[in-house]
């Protein structure tokens, strides 16, 4: 047995890890970048059926998600709230392209990197910020915090904190929709780390067996916390679909139009066939896993490369090039969003904390539940 063979990945990943791509000197990238982005769509927005108004809405939504989290980070650093804060920054094209492609009553469920998902599904900046602050006016009444944004009325079933734990829940949402004969599909998002969890595989098997109208969608941002995808998962993530005979697709998640196009096509297919999909959307998060992450597992060049592909900048370029918006109009959107986010911060700051009595509320459905004491 060679020394290198112990506890290193096998196959292609092992070769990549074992072979320095560059000089190996300080400041030089030793390994390949976190994710290989597939080519973005070449279809023009009009060809995708996207009108100017929709594109501007998508742009504003992405800017809102970005600014909301940048301000949230500041508030966290100022000590306005505690707990975890997992930022979605860099991945906004995924939530935005998805919700634009889905019907409003299609179900969405995701993991703990969920702020963007809340904001695209009707959680207002005020309700979101108040939730982060732990206030009674938050979307989950301050009982969930950063990881448990939800707007069930708008079919956003929440963010979940146990990696992979929400995947069977997604399967159950789809199961119920099928049971009730509803023309409604479920999109179950997860990080690349969740691909290694048994919960995904058990749910994929049953989804394929029972023809559930669901899409299992991996937001592969290159890292499960601090472990690179090729160090935690053998082969390519999308290959997991092959074992279940499941339809699959790899999507460029740094381009909102690519996400929209792919999601639209797959959603139509699920509605027609009621067969699940396994989707790998490749993206990148600009911030650490959470707030206490020194990010020693990746280097600056990689970050700069992905920031040069920024999904917000990319859509802005499309809007300007196609003369759908002037620089002035873009600036106005930034200003509007800035006001909305600052208003949200003020709202959250001024909102009351939950009453003491709220401690015992929402545990059970009955009006006077028995609590052990």
């Amino acid at each position: 047995m060679t020394k290198e063979a112990i506890f290193t990945p096998v196959g292609k990943a092992a070769e990549e890890l074992a072979t320095p791509k560059k000089s190996g000197k300080k400041g030089d990238s030793l390994y390949e970048k976190a994710v290989d982005l597939p080519e973005p769509t070449t279809a023009a927005p009009a060809k995708l059926g996207l009108k100017k108004g929709q594109l501007l809405e998508m742009f504003e939504s992405m800017v809102l998600q970005r600014r909301f989290e940048e301000r949230a980070m500041q508030m966290y650093q100022k000590g306005k709230f505690g707990g975890f804060l997992h930022l979605y920054i860099g991945q906004e094209a995924v939530s935005t392209g998805t919700t634009a492609a889905l019907k409003d009553d299609d179900d969405i469920i995701t993991a703990y990197r969920d702020h963007g998902w809340g904001l695209v599904r009707g959680v207002s900046a005020r309700q979101g910020m108040a939730e982060l602050f732990g206030k009674a006016t938050g979307c989950s009444k301050g009982k969930g915090g950063s990881m448990h944004f939800a707007n069930v009325e708008k079919h956003f079933w929440g963010g979940y904190g146990i990696v992979g734990g929400h995947i069977p829940l997604g399967g159950g949402l789809a199961f119920a929709n099928k049971y009730k004969g509803l023309d409604r599909l479920t999109t179950c998002f997860m990080g690349d780390g969740a691909v290694d969890q048994g919960a995904l595989h058990e749910t994929m098997n049953m989804a394929q067996l029972w023809k559930l109208p669901i899409m299992f969608i991996v937001e592969n941002n290159g890292y499960a916390m601090g472990t690179a995808t090729r160090r935690h998962s053998t082969g390519e993530l999308w290959e997991r679909a092959l074992g279940y005979g499941m339809k699959h697709r790899v999507v460029n998640g740094m381009d909102v139009l690519s996400v929209y196009e792919a999601m639209k096509e797959m959603a139509t297919d699920v509605r027609k066939d009621s067969m699940p999909w396994f989707v790998e959307i490749r993206t990148y998060r600009y911030r650490g896993h959470s707030m206490s992450d020194p990010q020693k597992y990746r280097d600056k060049e990689e970050m700069e490369e992905f920031q040069s592909l920024d999904p917000i900048e990319r859509l802005k370029t499309v809007l300007l090039d196609k003369k759908m918006a002037t620089q002035k109009a873009i600036d106005a959107i930034y200003e509007k969003v800035e006001e909305e986010v600052m208003d949200a911060v003020e709202f959250a700051d001024n909102s009351p904390f939950p009453e003491d009595s709220a401690l015992y509320e929402d545990m059970y459905s009955e009006p006077n539940p028995v609590f052990h004491r």
Binding site: A150, A176, E202, M363, Y364
Partner: protein, 327 residues
């Protein structure tokens, strides 16, 4: 009233509730074509079809979680585990999801689901098929835990569990499925969750118990009667919420208490009942509360070792004599 087996009482409860509400369905390993590993679901496939009587792969984590998601989205699943020993694989879904989703989303969803199946030991099945899990699950807020001992209670409580709007664990025993008892056949006869029952009246010692070992306690009470000690048996029926009012009312009468619990001793139901008695009925006790439980040892296979492991009638009788300062 009719005399039914435990499994028939359960089946009648499931059948009546499925007939009453089309959102109720049952899912688990071997529940459909095979008619149930222990024949609880026998015949339900014929009545309700594959849509509502669903065979699953051997994937407890997955199908338990699909049940939780379906419950969030408006259905009322009954998830059958072939045994609660296998439900440990689904513990993340029960403990981290079913019991918590409502609270952590600020009440935006409910999880009306029943997880049911046999619990605790059933003869020489070895270490991994013999564990009593009720106190472990009872530890967690958001979960109700029912563990009846007789067919009549089983039917009325299972119906309440299915109609409950939150997560309920309903525990049975492989060794009780053939047990016969009087069952109320009125489809609207429900037994409330969280209410214990005095199954035998007596003035000298209170025996608190639940689940299958109740039947050992009944035999022990008969033995004690021969020696002039009249035991009162309180069958908890529901472990959580725990009906201490009934236990305390009995102890105020007998002033002595033995808790008989077919589980390991550490932090079990017996420990909890003992603590609550010293807190709330200290002045009514004429002796320290005694518990009769399994030892702090995994289940052995060998027959003599198993018999030494499982609490016997004599262990219960000795416990009663201990609180009676009699040997």
């Amino acid at each position: 009233m009719a005399e039914l087996q435990f499994r028939e009482a359960l089946r009648q409860a499931i059948d009546e509730e499925m007939a009453r509400d089309e959102n109720v369905f049952i899912m688990g390993e071997e529940v459909s074509e095979y008619n149930g590993a222990y024949k609880v679901t026998e015949g339900l496939l014929e009545t309700y079809g594959f849509k509502r009587v669903i065979d699953t792969p051997i994937a407890e984590l997955g199908f338990a979680g699909i049940g939780v998601g379906a419950a969030m989205n408006g259905l009322r699943p009954i998830i059958e585990f072939m045994t609660f020993n296998f439900a440990v694989l689904a513990a993340d879904q029960i403990i981290n999801h079913a019991s918590k989703v409502k609270y952590m989303l600020g009440g935006q969803v409910s999880v009306p689901i029943v997880f049911r199946g046999p619990n605790a030991s059933a003869g020489q099945l070895g270490a991994t098929h013999s564990v009593a899990y009720e106190s472990m699950y009872a530890h967690f807020p958001g979960i109700k835990v029912i563990h009846p001992s007789e067919p009549g209670d089983a039917k009325g409580l299972l119906k309440s569990a299915i109609r409950d709007n939150d997560t309920v664990l309903f525990m049975e025993s492989e060794q009780m499925y053939g047990l016969k008892g009087e069952v109320n056949e009125d489809p609207e006869h429900l037994i409330p969750i969280g209410k214990a029952a005095v199954k035998r009246e007596g003035s000298d010692v209170t025996l608190v118990t639940h689940g299958k070992i109740y039947h050992t306690v009944v035999k022990a009470a008969a033995e004690l009667a021969k020696e002039g000690i009249e035991a009162e048996i309180v069958d908890l029926r529901t472990v959580k919420p725990l009906d201490m009012d009934t236990v305390i009312a009995s102890v105020k009468k007998t002033h002595r208490c033995v808790v008989v619990d077919e589980a390991h001793p550490f932090a079990g139901t017996a420990a909890e009942v003992g603590y609550l008695l010293q807190r709330d009925a200290f002045d009514d006790l004429d002796a320290p509360v005694v518990r009769v439980t399994l030892p702090d040892v995994s289940a052995p296979f060998s027959k003599p070792l198993f018999d030494a492991w499982f609490p016997s009638v004599k262990d219960v009788v000795d416990g009663a004599k201990q609180v009676y300062y009699k040997s």
